[in-house]
Symmetry: C2
Subunit: 216 residues, 2 copies
Amino acid sequence: MTDKTVSIDIKKDLFGANEEAAAITADIFKKHGIRSVDIMGSVGTGKTELIEGLCEILSKKYRILMLAGDLATTIDADRVASHGVDTVQINTRTACHLDARMIQLALKDVDLSKYQLVFIENVGNLICPAGYSLGVEKKIVVVSITEGPYMIRKHPLTIKRSDMVVINKIDLAEVLSFDVDALVSDIREVDERLPVFKVSAKTGIGLTELVDALGL
Amino acid sequence: MTDKTVSIDIKKDLFGANEEAAAITADIFKKHGIRSVDIMGSVGTGKTELIEGLCEILSKKYRILMLAGDLATTIDADRVASHGVDTVQINTRTACHLDARMIQLALKDVDLSKYQLVFIENVGNLICPAGYSLGVEKKIVVVSITEGPYMIRKHPLTIKRSDMVVINKIDLAEVLSFDVDALVSDIREVDERLPVFKVSAKTGIGLTELVDALGL
């Protein structure tokens, strides 16, 4: 190292800046009395279908805004918009997760006084989104029984960083001979008290229990 | 910026170092006459089951080494080892992909003269592993019809950076009413000539075609 070289702690710098931005968003949501939920999970676990189901139940009670994170396309935002919900699509291009600054940018031109509830659908990825606070009240991780039996044991940090787990596509458990109890045991190994919901976003199973647990 | 501050291009630095390490691994494989394949894809798409199926076919012809990348556990390496194949588990802890230096580290104490074929199973993630060369001959991306219909359109860069696409769990297409032709069309939109294989790693459908295409 020469005296011209300055060493920087990249990880601390990046995460520190994110936490600051997240805290600002949290304050803005609080000021407007907005409830907020970040929904993360791997590709195709049914995050969009879950948000669609929740919007069907909640759109009479709340004015909802949905932010959709994807590398490309507006497919997810379009699907949720078809339920009469306002949406903003965030295309991350190459980024594997949403961060708090992207949320700030997406909300910059939004009149937040119009909304009472914000759903954020994170980029489809069971790893990276767990490390980034977005300034929301609750972080839900969605896993699907079509992902096979090991996704919990392989991703304990993601589970630890979540406030709730949704096991989705529960309607396929029988045809896929999937042991749901074993999956719940794996979650219990990581966190004894983490709320777990057995859901089929497609058929509606378990959605009202999830809404109740969110206090919505 | 003060005259004590040096600006560094983090992205270029990281990716440049990775390319250098990958080139060294490629040379080492070449020197030993080792064929090599990197298999990437999201959580639960059946990467391990695919490697198990390929090992069943190929272990009479080649001495195989399998490197398994996961944040935690040795589940995947143990499964492949049960087929009489030597394995090395790489636990990345928090890292969302394998990189070329992890592969170098994993191979450091391995006697490569013992092997003729290396399979690398990347961390379960459809985004990040695509950006990192590992010094292998072919990069295969595995998608599964249980991931829903949009994973190709949402991840064009991953498809572009792959040498082949395996559409796995093809045996479930009927029960899930999945339109496989539409998925192939999505791949064709990104790359007209990319080899695509319809596979069920579970039942063995399509495996010999994949082996032939790999020239193994």
